[in-house]
């Protein structure tokens, strides 16, 4: 039956893994907000310039035709996710996923304005008052400001951030830019402020299929049932063995700190995002009780059953080998990337033209794309038919750094050499570097004999 989701109030807990998670959150968010401000050679270091259809990545300029690199990069990212999931479980979910990271930041703001877990629960139950309004309003103010800043930063990956900042200060932002900024800001606000763990539970495909990458040697967070049960409260002076109790004092702290609201003692559950908050919580209690730490801990299924954990297993070799091969392919193809691209399009409207002196003429559009960052001079030539010449082209053409030059050219050949269809080849050669030559095949059509 329908039951609306209850709000989860994760309790704050300090500890080893909390520090790790704070470090991850701050460095990942810091990276996201800082990168658009970086400069490289006087332009934004990372900029996906969609209006110009160019991607700037540090010293590299990528074009739409470089799309395979992006596809390869995405495949590598997916495969690394598989690799690390098989090795160490849901590290991604607990420490690196944007959903987790932004939720963490939003919970900090919530704690800052509304206080601890119990204060927040009391505040929500309390009737509206000035204090409640002030706390709620200041939380909303922080959330909304942060979301807007996030939207602004997101858009800045696609629009130069300094110009964008000036436009915003002048209240003169382009329609689509404004729209996407608000869109992303609102998505952040909704996902990190309100949806939180529901996204992981109901909307995330990875959360559902990650168990396929799990085996008995995968690092998981687990409660040591054999050590903990039977659970029960007791005073610190009581020896648990004498009282017939395990080490779990049933304090509920591991449940209260859980951001997805599960009880880790019920075993491995797909809702668990492996944030390790329950480890910190349990360790703090074990310290207080002067029991050894690790009643809830990072372990493997094999380890829990006193078997040996194997890190090197066939699954790891398969994922690892594929990763190495793909990374190698990416690096090699990037290194072999030609700094110039030649594109030849034959004019489809006319087959050929007959000129005086028994000459036959074909028309082409030549595109020279200079993928380097400096302007360059190129010479253009054609071969494949005896005596074929180009007309209407200067000896040298200048193409700007990162620029495209579109040239209409006429190729001419004597009709005795060019009957029917002949294969020809266009060549561009950099004037300053004779080793930089690109060829492109095309066809020359003449009258049928």
């Amino acid at each position: 039956m329908y039951e609306s989701a209850k709000k989860i109030y994760p309790r704050e807990i300090g500890g080893r893994f909390d520090r790790l998670s704070k470090l991850a959150t701050i460095s990942l968010l810091g990276l996201f907000y800082a990168v658009p401000w970086l400069l490289w050679d006087g332009r934004q270091a990372v900029l996906f310039d969609l209006p110009e259809r160019k991607f700037y990545l540090l010293g590299l300029t990528l074009w739409p035709q470089d799309f395979p690199y992006l596809a390869l990069l995405l495949i590598i990212a997916a495969l690394s996710l598989f690799f690390f999931t098989a090795l160490a479980g849901r590290l991604w979910c607990g420490f690196a996923c944007p959903q987790t990271v932004w939720t963490e930041a939003f919970i900090w703001m919530e704690q800052f304005t509304e206080g601890t877990r119990s204060q927040r629960m009391k505040l929500d139950k309390a009737p509206w008052s000035f204090t409640k309004f002030r706390k709620k309003a200041s939380k909303q103010f922080l959330w909304i400001t942060f979301s807007m800043w996030t939207g602004f930063t997101f858009v800045a990956y696609f629009t130069p951030i300094r110009e964008l900042g000036a436009e915003i200060l002048a209240f003169n932002v382009g329609g689509w830019t404004l729209f996407w900024g608000l869109f992303y800001g609102f998505a952040t606000y909704g996902n990190a402020g309100y949806m939180r763990e529901q996204v992981c539970k109901y909307m995330c495909p990875y959360a559902r299929f990650q168990s396929a990458m799990f085996d008995k040697d995968t690092l998981i967070i687990s409660y040591d049932e054999r050590r903990g049960e039977p659970r029960g409260s007791r005073s610190r002076s009581v020896n648990p063995q004498d009282a017939g109790l395990g080490d779990c004092i049933d304090c509920q702290l591991c449940v209260q700190v859980c951001p997805t609201g599960i009880d880790i003692r019920e075993g491995l559950q797909y809702e668990c995002i492996a944030c390790a908050a329950c480890i910190d919580a349990c360790d703090s209690i074990m310290d207080k009780m002067q029991y050894p730490r690790g009643l809830v801990r990072y372990t493997t299924e094999h380890n829990l059953h006193n078997d040996e954990t194997r890190i090197l297993r066939p699954r790891m070799f398969v994922y690892g080998t594929l990763l190495v091969i793909l990374c190698g392919a990416l690096v090699t193809s990037m290194a072999m990337r030609k700094p110039v691209i030649l594109d030849v399009i034959r004019d489809r409207n006319t087959l050929y033209r007959e000129l005086p002196n028994d000459l036959i003429e074909n028309i082409y559009t030549i595109k020279i794309i200079n993928q380097g960052n400096a302007p360059r001079r190129f010479g253009l030539s054609v071969s494949g038919i005896e005596g074929i010449t180009l007309d209407g082209v200067a000896d040298e053409v200048l193409v700007d750094g990162g620029g495209v030059l579109s040239l209409p050219v006429r190729a001419r050949a004597h009709r005795d050499n060019a009957s029917g269809v002949s294969e020809i080849e266009f060549n561009v050669e950099a004037v300053d570097d004779a080793s930089l030559v690109m060829g492109e095949d095309s066809r020359f059509i003449g009258p049928t004999p």
Partner: protein, 97 residues
């Protein structure tokens, strides 16, 4: 003796799950489709095919493309979810016999 207050979230209703999952997954698919599509086609060149007179900017082209893919994907997964959710149950037939 776990205090119900501590026991976190109960479930979303099936309808809410279906709606949000369809919207989110089609959003992701649309993002990928937009990326692949516009890596090959330039919106400015494309707009010429549909309407010579209209001068469509690239920004608008990308946005229209994205929302078109989002709608298309949402339609596809929405209908799929609907058909699966409303299909007659297999064991219902057995029970009648």
């Amino acid at each position: 003796m776990i205090d119900e207050e501590y026991r976190g979230a109960k479930q979303w209703s099936r309808d809410k799950q279906a709606v949000f999952t369809v919207v989110w997954i089609s959003f992701l698919s649309a993002a990928i489709a937009t990326m692949v599509f516009f890596a090959v086609f330039d919106p400015v060149e494309l707009s010429g095919y549909f309407d010579e007179a209209r001068d469509l900017s690239r920004d608008a082209g990308y946005a229209i493309g994205f929302f078109f893919f989002w709608l298309l994907c949402a339609f596809c997964s929405g209908v799929t979810a609907f058909l699966i959710r409303t299909a007659p149950k297999r064991d219902a037939k057995h029970r009648r016999q």
